[in-house]
């Protein structure tokens, strides 16, 4: 099987599954989950063909609808990452859902949406033009909204779905505007054509397009200031919130930024903007994660924070560093989520204050979670350490000291919340009533595999950079040894070590910190627990917009239109009553009218 056929099948198979499932649901509803898994399995097997088959040189394109709309498949290392993440993590979601979603209603809808989402994300990643990208981008958006609001009878879930949809829609509008600007300029939707033609655009127009792309990416990847939908999206079934949103879809924004980075490079301020967005998001995510008590939320915020690092890397013009971190992050965050799933499964709650001392009951989970957390905070020789240091190094090289400072504070906070979460969950004072379920062996195996990967995955930096260079994408030629040498000899190493130390210190002082926060209750801590007021601000803004709409409607409908209606009705009824007085029913009057008419008619003639 060639890579292009595999790429085509990779999104056609999930789409076919999404179409087939409602039909199968009519006569065999119990087969639906298995059918979905089957489709997921098929595409994840096919996904392996993508790895080996990418030939060097020009990207592969393929006419999907010749004559009507020329679209193609773009298979390069950049596009493969989100496609593979979608396929493989999607497959994991499907398997995980078999048990997790058992007994829920409307499973056909659930599985059809998950498959549609997978197909949408693969299509988005493999599209070689903006129009197809936008189409699949929206498919993802719709699926995500539907899945967040899957338990639509719960008003919180329905509201969260609507919030996610509306928030990302703001970004989508930006993306669409950017695409239209480029398409009008070049007359084509193709990436390569537009990247070539973009230099001809006036800087303000190009800046507008760049801003649109940044906005679109911020919406999808839950970046500041459009991050507000992600915490609420935790209302979705765990499979969706943890895996689809926190681990899969959010990568789409980073991918988009990396994809359009040639354009961003043409607009000087846009990269700065991206840097700051990334840095603020990294800090914000870490801060929110540090003050959350919901295990799923901690991991979700942590994901936002790590995505901030990746966006920051793109902003530094280091797409390779961002993708390298994305690769590491997928492994250690996947590990953390699976561990969290095992813990939540065992305890039956998501609140870490009701956990503690779980090491005794599930040592394997505890150790692997610890490894994941260490990778997250960037302990040397774990994959997270190398990739995060790579990014910091690029920041230092680029001289972006402001974002660097934010990123380092975020690093310290990351160390703090990673240690805090691990300790509270697995070593702290037991705080639960129920007896924890034992972790099944088949859940432990993937944990161990992923933990091992946390130690080893950074060794793949050599092949990765080779593949990038072979595809003509900008990447430094690095081998693993080179990476070690560069990492340990750089200033970034010291900085990140310092951040970890500060985080560790904070962790040690957590009891005093907690007492301080509890007694003093500084304003910013209250603000943090309320999402730093962004929700309030947006709610306020939305309310004002709605009030304005209501006012306009009131004014137009109730005053103007209704006024016209009332006046017309009142006027014609009044005239009617008035004119009916002419109808006296008296013959004398009748004849008088006749006479008067004759006089007027003849009079007009003579006059």
């Amino acid at each position: 099987m060639t890579a292009q056929l595999a790429g085509l099948l990779l999104f056609l198979i999930p789409f076919a599954g999404a179409l087939l499932i409602p039909l199968v649901n009519f006569f065999a509803p119990r087969a639906v989950p298995w059918l979905a898994v089957l489709f997921g399995l098929a595409s994840s097997v096919i996904a392996f063909f993508l790895l080996g088959g990418t030939p060097a040189g020009a990207p592969i394109t393929l006419d999907i609808l010749p004559g009507f709309f020329r679209s193609g498949l773009l298979l390069d290392p950049l596009s493969l990452v989100p496609a593979l993440i979608a396929t493989w993590i999607g497959f994991l979601v499907l398997i995980y859902s078999l048990g997790y979603m058992k007994g829920e209603e409307n499973l056909a809808r659930y599985y059809a949406l998950v498959l549609l989402f997978i197909g949408g994300m693969v299509g988005m990643a493999l599209a070689d033009n903006f129009l197809a990208l936008f189409f699949f981008w929206e498919v993802m958006g719709v699926c995500s909204y539907q899945l967040i609001a899957f338990f639509y009878k719960d008003p919180k879930a329905a509201a969260a779905g609507a919030k996610a949809f509306l928030t990302t829609k703001i970004g989508d509008i930006g993306l669409l505007a950017a695409i239209i600007i480029l398409a009008v300029n070049s007359g084509s939707f193709s990436f390569s054509v537009n990247f070539g033609a973009a230099a001809g655009l006036a800087l303000p127009v190009l800046g507008l397009a760049a801003f649109g792309f940044i906005l679109g990416a911020a919406g999808k990847s839950a970046q500041f200031p459009l991050h507000v939908w992600l915490p609420d999206a935790m209302e979705a079934p765990t499979t969706i919130s943890a895996l689809i949103h926190a681990a899969t879809m959010v990568n789409a924004g980073v991918y988009l930024l990396a994809r359009v980075s040639p354009l961003l490079a043409l607009v000087p301020w846009s990269l700065t903007l991206v840097q700051w967005i990334g840095a603020i998001t990294a800090l914000l995510g870490a801060l929110l994660a540090a003050f959350s008590n919901d295990l799923k939320r901690i991991l979700a915020y942590s994901t936002v924070s790590q995505l901030g690092y990746m966006v920051l890397a793109v902003g530094m013009g280091a797409a390779f560093a961002s993708q390298f971190h994305l690769f590491s992050h997928a492994i250690f965050k996947g590990l953390l989520f699976l561990c969290a799933g095992a813990v939540i499964h065992a305890i039956g709650t998501r609140d870490i204050r009701q956990m503690g001392g779980l090491y005794k009951h599930m040592p394997a989970v505890a150790i692997t979670f610890l490894i994941g957390a260490m990778a997250l905070l960037g302990l040397p020789f774990l994959n997270g350490f190398f990739s995060k240091d790579f990014i910091l190094e690029e920041i230092i090289l680029g001289g972006a000291w402001g974002p660097l400072a934010l990123a380092l504070i975020a690093g310290a906070l990351t160390a703090f919340y990673a240690l805090r979460t691990t300790f509270v969950v697995f070593w702290g004072k037991p705080n639960y009533q129920t007896h924890p379920h034992k972790t099944p062996a088949n859940m432990v195996v993937p944990l161990l595999a992923l933990a091992l990967a946390c130690f080893l995955s950074w060794l793949l930096v050599g092949p990765l950079s080779e593949a990038w260079i072979a595809s003509g994408l900008p990447a430094p030629a690095l081998s693993a040894l080179e990476l070690i040498r560069v990492t340990f000899s750089s200033l970034a190493f010291l900085f990140s070590l310092a951040a970890i130390v500060v985080g560790f210190f904070l962790f040690l002082q957590r009891a005093r910190l907690a007492r301080y926060f509890h007694e003093q209750e500084p304003g910013w801590i209250r603000a943090t627990s309320r999402g730093l007021g962004f929700d309030d601000l947006y709610t306020w803004l939305a309310d004002r917009i709605r009030d304005f709409g209501v006012w306009v409607r009131m004014f137009w409908e109730e005053r103007v239109m209704e006024g016209i209606n009332r006046f017309a009705a009142w006027g014609s009824l009044g005239l009617s009553r008035l004119s009916c007085r002419l109808q006296t029913g008296d013959v004398h009057w009748n004849l008088l009218y006749v006479t008067l008419t004759l006089i007027v008619v003849l009079g007009v003639a003579l006059w």
Binding site: A569, S572, L573, L575, S576, R577, S579, C580, L582, Q583, T584, G585, V587, W589, N590, L591, Y593, V594, L596, T597, L598, V601, L602, V604, A605, L606
Partner: protein
């Protein structure tokens, strides 16, 4: 193949002998006078209609002089044929309808002959070649309608209405007669074709007086505002079949007479745009006054006044602004109005037939027990308001078009006012439909309502079919209306 005059004589003979046979048959068999009179009248109108249909092909070439029965001077043209045929069709439907509708009344051996006489007068009016015979049939029409309006002579209101009708009509007739006398004094002839050639070189200034008298005299008959005052009394008080005839063809006959006169001797009109102003005034006043009526038939009577405004507007736009679509639009509206207003009155009659009350409020919820009647009424009023796909839309459209076609300010304004009037008319048509389809039912409806008998229902269905047919495919008839005016030379 029969000659044109033979065809025409046969058609008229059916009406004349139908009148006699219907009366004598009813008078001899007093026990069954309604059925015998009614069926004879129905058959007579059917026979007449057949001959009118046969007459149609010979009219394509233009008008022809015919001496009916050797002594009545007629000119036969498509314009007159359309009006006469519409009258005969409507009379046929009304006869069919009245056979059951009149079952509570006495003296039916006079009712049906009078209808036939009325149609005969319409036919005569349509083809009359000179002003004298025009007047003669005009009077025959009036005389046959008075007793029909006051047919329920034991009740005070119909008699009062009949008297008012008589007074107004007589006033109009006197003016027309004076006008004719003046014309004869001025030109020495009453033949319309001759007159049309004479007025071109003749004493045109002198014409203002006879034309003014004709306008007001025929205007009374056509119920132009403010000469309409007899109509809201007379039309509702007549039996519903007669209401249908009066609103459907009799007042149009007055307008038709006016049209004949204007198209022959109205060439040097002393009043530019007079007809348009009359038309706008009439339709607006009619609609406004209809808006607050409590009785269904009275509301329909006022709506007739408004519809006369539309017809007159079409004719006026062609006469004074020269837009070609106007007069055919007006003529086509005469055709569609005869059917739709006839249907509306017959439906109102059907409701009264079952409920015994003409108050709109008493008909609340009747649709659920009389679905066919209510549906037919809905079709009729929607068509009257000019809603597609019914006939009224097509004819009103032509009139609107004409105003815009004329490319004058007055034409535009007239069209816009006419359109606004259609909207206004929905203000009373739709509530009437809404009352019929109300979920609540009035006590009368709960007690008495049930679907009308077969013959009445058949009459309603015939008219519904005609209205929907003309609405969807207006073309043969609409083309005839255009053709009728294209063939006109000197009024014929």
């Amino acid at each position: 193949m029969m000659t044109q005059s033979a065809l025409l004589e046969s058609a008229v003979a059916f009406l004349i002998f139908g009148t006699l046979a219907s009366y004598l048959g009813g008078a001899f068999f007093k026990q069954r006078e309604r059925l015998i009179s009614g069926w004879i009248a129905t058959l007579a109108t059917t026979g007449s209609l057949v001959y009118f249909a046969l007459l149609f092909p010979s009219l394509q070439a233009g008008s022809a002089q015919v001496a009916l029965f050797g002594f009545i001077p007629w000119r036969v043209d498509l314009l007159g044929w359309i009006v006469a045929t519409v009258g005969v069709v409507l009379a046929l439907v009304v006869n069919l309808y009245s056979i059951r509708y009149m079952e509570e009344d006495t003296g039916n051996s006079k009712f049906f002959p009078l209808i036939l006489l009325m149609v005969l007068a319409v036919v005569g009016l349509a083809f009359a070649a000179d002003l004298f015979h025009l007047y003669l049939f005009f009077e025959l029409l009036a005389i046959s309608s008075f007793p029909l309006v006051a047919f329920r002579k034991d009740e005070p209101k119909p008699v009062e209405a009949g008297l008012k009708f008589l007074v107004a009509s007589a006033t109009g007739s006197a003016m027309v007669l004076l006008g004719i006398a003046l014309v004869y004094q001025g030109f020495g002839t009453l033949d319309l074709v001759q007159l049309s050639t004479l007025v071109v070189g003749g004493p045109s200034l002198f014409l203002w007086l006879p034309l003014g008298l004709f306008t007001v005299g025929f205007g009374i008959k056509a119920a132009l505002f403010p000469l309409h005052t007899w109509l809201p009394d007379a039309h509702p008080e007549a039996p519903s079949g007669i209401s249908a005839m009066l609103s459907g063809i009799v007042i149009e006959a007055g307008l038709f007479a006016l049209l004949r006169v204007y198209f022959t001797i109205g060439g040097p009109l002393p009043w530019p745009d007079l007809l348009i102003w009359f038309a706008l005034l009439t339709m607006t006043a009619g609609n406004l006054m209809a808006l607050t009526q409590k009785q269904m038939k009275r509301m329909l009577a006022y709506s007739s006044i408004a519809q006369m405004g539309y017809i007159l507007l079409g004719i006026g736009i062609t006469a004074s602004l020269g837009a070609p679509a106007g007069a055919p639009g007006g003529l086509f509206h005469i055709v569609t109005h005869a059917f739709m207003k006839g249907l509306a009155f017959l439906c109102a009659g059907a409701l009264i037939f079952r409920l015994g009350s003409g108050q709109t409020a008493d008909m609340r919820g009747a649709a659920w027990k009389m679905p066919l009647t209510a549906a037919a009424f809905t079709v009729a009023v929607l068509s009257l308001a000019g809603v597609p796909p019914f006939a009224g839309f097509m004819s009103k459209l032509l009139i609107y078009q004409a105003g815009i076609q004329s490319a004058t300010t007055l034409g535009w304004v007239a069209s816009l006012i006419a359109i606004a009037n259609s909207v206004l008319s929905l203000g009373y048509y739709l509530p009437a439909v809404g009352v019929l389809y109300s979920k609540e039912r009035s006590p009368l409806v709960a007690a008495k309502a049930k679907e009308v008998p077969f013959l009445m229902a058949a009459a309603l269905v015939i008219l519904v079919v005609l209205i929907v047919y003309l609405g969807i495919s207006p073309d043969p008839v609409r083309q005839w209306a255009f053709q009728a005016f294209a063939l006109l030379k000197g009024g014929f």
